[in-house]
């Protein structure tokens, strides 16, 4: 059974406006899928189609040879999705948010590895503060810290992951993505910074 995620003649329409159509691709293990396009071209919509949040107007999305919609729970264990919003609860701490994200993905997480992941993300000393007291960059790091603990999830779908990050955090994230791709994981992302993640096997989708 192929681990590839396949899009076959996929079309997407938002608000009555066709964004893209006839899109076919095979997203293979170990491959970076870089989605490029102008604002409003449908980059985020394509990422949402890839993880089953958006049903295409036409065409099929297959994962492991089966329609994506028929294996949502299994996909949930294999997927990390980070959208525009950080998916953090303001009332909870980064530690609690991280544990929650892992538990929703079906993975139990002890405080030790979670604290270590947050330290790697540059949030040492902020682990137990409410997320609402963090800066935008710290919130983004807090959301991205789940990637440190998602080595068992092959599919990473990231919408503008480098936004709001400083230079050090960009380097940290780049290394995380490199490592994931090197072990056969799949990364799909939108980013306006095309110089990042150079030298990896990639497939570019221009919308």
């Amino acid at each position: 059974m192929s681990a590839a995620l396949v899009l076959h003649q996929v079309a997407c329409v938002r608000g009555g406006r066709p964004l893209f159509g006839g899109l076919s691709l095979q997203w293979q293990p170990g491959q970076l899928l870089r989605v490029k396009g102008a604002n409003g071209a449908g980059k985020t919509s394509l990422l949402r189609v890839l993880c089953g949040l958006l049903t295409p107007a036409d065409g099929q999305v297959l994962w492991r040879g089966q329609p994506l919609a028929s294996q949502r729970e299994a996909l949930g264990q294999s997927l990390v999705y980070l959208g525009h919003a950080a998916a953090l609860k303001d009332e909870l701490s980064p530690l609690e948010n991280l544990q929650l994200a892992c538990q929703l993905a079906g993975r139990r997480l002890a405080p030790g590895p979670a604290l270590q992941a947050l330290a790697h993300a540059g949030l040492r000393g902020f682990e137990r503060r409410p997320v609402r007291s963090l800066s935008q960059g710290q919130r983004r790091r807090s959301a991205l810290a789940r990637l440190e603990l998602a080595s068992q999830a092959p599919l990473w779908v990231l919408d503008e992951p480098f936004n709001a990050l400083d230079t050090a955090a960009v380097a940290w994230l780049e290394q995380l993505l490199h490592t994931h791709l090197a072990r056969g994981g799949q990364v799909a992302l939108t980013s306006h910074q095309s110089d990042l993640l150079a030298g990896v096997a990639e497939q570019v989708v221009n919308l």
Binding site: M1, P29, C51, G52, L53, L54, T55, R64, R72, E73, A74, L75, G76, Q77, S78, L79, Y81, G83, H84, A85, A86, A87, L88, K89, D90, E91, L92, E96, L100, A101, Q103, L104, A105, G106, R108, P113, Q116, A119, H120, A121, G122, R124, P130, E148, L149, S151, Q152, A153, P154, A168, A169, A171, W172, Q175, L176, T179, R183, G184, G185
Partner: protein
């Protein structure tokens, strides 16, 4: 900043999982517990929403005796209806934010992409909503019933009817909340969508007290409320889950 570029050795060494197994029953319960605990924790750290619904309930129920005047017979007659309508409106008030905050902060997508069946997680969220917001209304209702000169037994019937009926309010109201998530004026639209569906609960809930006061017994009304609760427990989480998937698209 060196920590930023450090990757744990275990992470680098771990191979990718081949094909994940579907969650087992203990794992499903774990998923339910995760969402329930999280929602309760958030509710305790943000008590404003809960207190607003509670204060609304207390004020609406308390205004009626002041407006109608000190006529015990009339107050006894209208007590159940007033308490039930106030509970219904207070429940709608607290339900209006049920999914809206999750939609805004992106955690709704996390729920939709979780490794557990969405109806199960919805049920956990609704259970937490009822425990954190609506249960308080039920618990305070015997105190408020004193203003209406209800007898102890009638107050007991009112309490049990609310205990059986208010979960239905949460379950059915959540359908409206899910359908209107992300829309402008969602609160009003949600009420318009769900209030007609909740009329039977209101009739049998308030009717239980009336039947008891007329010495007819409230058993039949409780049975109907139980049936409505079971029906809502089975159907509502799946409907809410489907509505959320549509709303997020």
């Amino acid at each position: 900043m060196n920590e930023l570029s450090k990757l744990s050795a275990t992470q680098v060494a771990q191979p990718l999982a081949a094909v994940p197994a579907l969650p087992s029953l203990p794992s499903l319960l774990q998923g339910w517990r995760t969402v329930f605990v999280q929602e309760m924790r958030i509710a305790f750290r943000r008590p404003g929403h809960t207190l607003a619904a509670l204060m609304f309930f207390v004020m609406v129920v308390s205004l009626f005796p002041l407006g109608v005047g000190p006529e015990p017979a009339l107050l006894r007659r209208m007590a159940a209806g007033v308490v039930w309508v106030a509970a219904l409106l207070a429940c709608m008030l607290s339900l209006s934010r049920l999914f809206a905050d999750d939609w805004q902060d992106g955690t709704l997508e996390s729920l939709l992409l979780a490794a557990y069946p969405l109806p199960l997680l919805v049920l956990a969220k609704l259970a937490a909503h009822w425990c954190s917001s609506v249960l308080l209304l039920v618990l305070i209702s015997p105190v408020l019933a004193l203003q209406f000169d209800l007898s102890a037994s009638a107050t007991g019937v009112l309490f049990v009817s609310l205990l059986l009926g208010t979960p239905v309010l949460s379950l059915v109201g959540a359908i409206g909340a899910a359908l209107t998530v992300g829309l402008r004026g969602a609160g009003m639209l949600m009420s318009l969508l769900t209030l007609p569906l909740l009329v039977p609960v209101l009739i049998f809930g308030a009717g239980a007290v009336d039947a008891h006061q007329a010495d007819l017994g409230a058993g039949a009304h409780f049975s109907v409320l139980c049936a409505l609760l079971l029906l809502a427990l089975v159907a509502a989480p799946a409907v809410v889950a489907a509505a959320l998937r549509i709303a997020v698209e």
